[in-house]
């Protein structure tokens, strides 16, 4: 069914196979939360799990918990719980540190496996990917090159044959464009390049098949679609075939083959544990564990079906486009104008399903309109966010959003734009961050 009315959405929610998951999350009253692509909502089990970790594991059992509560192995046991979400084997993923740090480890390890010296990245990637590449390249003598990965330049840049490592975001943080991970990985390998995937905006949002695609390395965060809490520990995937040779630079004692020998020289652990460095924040790990236990019950194929249905619905109401049919206006080189869509809104997110993650990015053609529109929507209880220079971002999280939420949010957005409500001066004043 293609929903067109709110009643249609009520009916879709009634038969939604994922409907029960909503009860697993805490959601503020009167809010439609479309920013789970920035910070996932709180799982209902998290406060209790964290309290138990703090009061029993830490407060009562103290250092004994390094053994009895499995603290020492958390980077591996949590990694094993993330593995099915990224299509990896349980012993190919470890949890720890932040995305930036893991990216640095993966990039340097990959560069050391190649006799070439170019790191190919995307011009529009999330800044930390650009900056960390800059840092890793400087230290290793490599050179950063950037292309638009959604155009023909990617193939051309790989075809030069001098690319050591390709670093791409699986889903673009701004536009929500989903890249063809298997095809790009194959193309990179054909040209002798290794691939590091940044999964921050795709893990928990779309099905991922790292092993089957032959991906080399991947990193990702857990605080967006995975609901592990602000700044929660990140993860790193290394294909098993690279474990014996991967040589990462942050050689700390948790990555040692025999950490409790306290040996004077570093000897990397045989498996993916060699990517670990030091102790990890176990209070934060407890929150991650609680959220991964929710994800263990979710079927990613169902998540994807609902995600696409929700973004279709949102796009249809806000832009008047018929999603799934054709590329967005901007991509076909046409200047958008008010009247192009129902409310003058244009989608930056691809309309075709194969290239869409689980977020929708919209433009309103007037300069400077994005920010106040988002603020005006927030005042109505619809939380999205804004990314410079002009993008309004809306994330869709099938585990805790209903079709009626999407309908209500989309119609509120149209109303805010059509009535000119967003033009009130107070909406233009910038908050410090968001």
């Amino acid at each position: 069914m293609t929903p067109t009315t709110r009643a249609d959405c009520v009916e879709l929610d009634r038969t939604d196979p994922l409907a029960a998951f909503r009860e697993e999350f805490v959601l503020p009253e009167g809010v439609v939360y479309l920013d789970g692509n920035s910070l996932g909502a709180l799982p209902r089990a998290t406060p209790g799990r964290v309290a138990d970790m703090i009061e029993r594991e830490w407060g009562r059992d103290l250092i004994a918990s390094w053994n009895t509560a499995g603290w020492w192995d958390k980077p591996r046991t949590l990694g094993a719980k993330i593995a099915p979400l990224v299509g990896a084997d349980p012993d190919e993923v470890v949890v720890g540190d932040g995305t930036s740090t893991n990216l640095f480890k993966a990039l340097v390890a990959a560069l050391r496996m190649s006799d070439r010296d170019i790191v190919l990245g995307e011009s529009g990637n999330f800044p930390t990917d650009l900056y960390v590449t800059e840092g890793a390249a400087r230290l290793t003598g490599a050179v950063q090159r950037r292309v638009d990965p959604d155009g023909p330049e990617l193939a051309a840049a790989l075809a030069t044959g001098d690319v050591a490592v390709l670093l791409l975001s699986h889903v673009d943080y701004r536009s929500g464009t989903l890249r063809d991970l298997p095809a790009i990985t194959r193309m990179a390998h054909e040209h002798g390049a290794l691939v590091v995937w940044d999964l921050c905006h795709s893990v928990g949002a779309v099905p991922i098949e790292l092993s089957r695609s032959g991906a080399d390395f991947a990193v990702g965060c857990t605080y967006k679609y995975l609901n592990a809490g602000p700044g929660a520990p990140a993860f790193l995937y290394a294909a098993r075939r690279h474990h014996a040779v991967a040589d990462q630079p942050l050689s700390g004692w948790h990555g040692h083959a025999n950490p409790f020998d306290f040996a004077p020289e570093y000897e990397p652990a045989p498996g993916v544990s060699r990517f670990l460095s030091g102790s990890q924040p176990l209070v934060a790990d407890a929150a991650l564990e609680a959220s991964l236990d929710v994800w263990a019950k979710a079927d990613m194929a169902q998540v994807r079906v609902k995600s696409l249905a929700m973004t279709d619905l949102f796009l249809r109401i806000t832009t008047g486009e018929e999603p799934g049919r054709r590329p967005p206006l901007r991509a076909v080189g046409r200047r958008p104008m008010v009247g192009d869509g129902w409310a003058g809104l244009e989608s930056v997110t691809p309309l075709d399903h194969a290239h869409r993650g689980s977020q929708v990015a919209l433009l309103q053609p007037e300069e400077g309109a994005g920010y106040p529109i988002v603020r005006a929507l927030i005042e109505r209880g619809v939380i999205g966010d804004f990314r410079a220079p002009d993008v309004m971002r809306f994330g869709f999280t099938p585990l805790y959003l209903r079709y009626v939420d999407v309908y209500d949010a989309a119609t509120a957005l149209v109303d805010v734009v059509e009535t000119g409500e967003w033009r009130q001066e107070r909406f233009a004043r910038r908050a410090q961050v968001t």
Copy 2:
């Protein structure tokens, strides 16, 4: 008063100016916890503070908390709370990542400030310091050299004039030896070397004066004496005079001068924020904040007085030595024998106050005795730990230990050794980790 009986200790506790702090911590019934140098005890305020952070800041306010709850600035506001504990200005310390990662940043930044290429470290330093130095040296083309920092080799190694960076632990993790931070810093500077101090085993244990000593960089953990929870975020200190030039390799977006410009090129922030990389685990930060609020009320001079009185007492009962008088047996080249001390125990920790941190490390001269003695003591409710090859470690935390606790622990240890209780076979069986 030099306490010699349990009644003396009861009296000392009655007049202890720090006595009230014990109520601020959760301590398991029937346990004397002498492992706060490994994992600090749980502050009573922590569970509530973390629950509030999770349920209100994350669960209810969601992304708005990046502004309203000060999430974005946590690395700086928490750094400012650590600053007085290390003798730094509030804007010279940031919190984030782990000790190993911060060590890597500080080492590479220091190496880049020098035209020399030797990193001088300690042969017996905690392994991660050795391994991270190895990793940083390989990437930068530097060379690691190691000496015993408590012997004459340190001065000789610095005098060669080719040392770029000296990396030392302020307190040795095994022996508890305290190094003279101001004097060593001065000596290093006289020879043109920069100094990176590892404060893991000294912060919260002894007063520290980084600024006044002219220290260049320092890193430390917060989960030992600072009670922030297992694996809690670490901190990094950079002297203000280095802020404009320090160039660290993990250039992520949180270290950018204008992170919300999403600029394509990296430009480091003007202050110590340039040492930040990516998002930090805010759930763990909340636990750190709760513990630092306890520390804000503590007078480090009082902490030091009580710490020395407690380690004196413990040493007197367990080794029969008169602490504060002379160096330990091993240091004067004499082979210890049963009968040397009351229970045949020898101190590896210096007896003179100037060289003692807040822990005591003991040896029992029989090979392999250390581990089962520690296990037998744990069965009696006295928790210390064991470090290969043969050291029994006991940490003293003046905020939550009483003199009677120290008396009871010391007499229990003497009893376990004298009665031969530890020789029971079950104590020799190794647990997976400690």
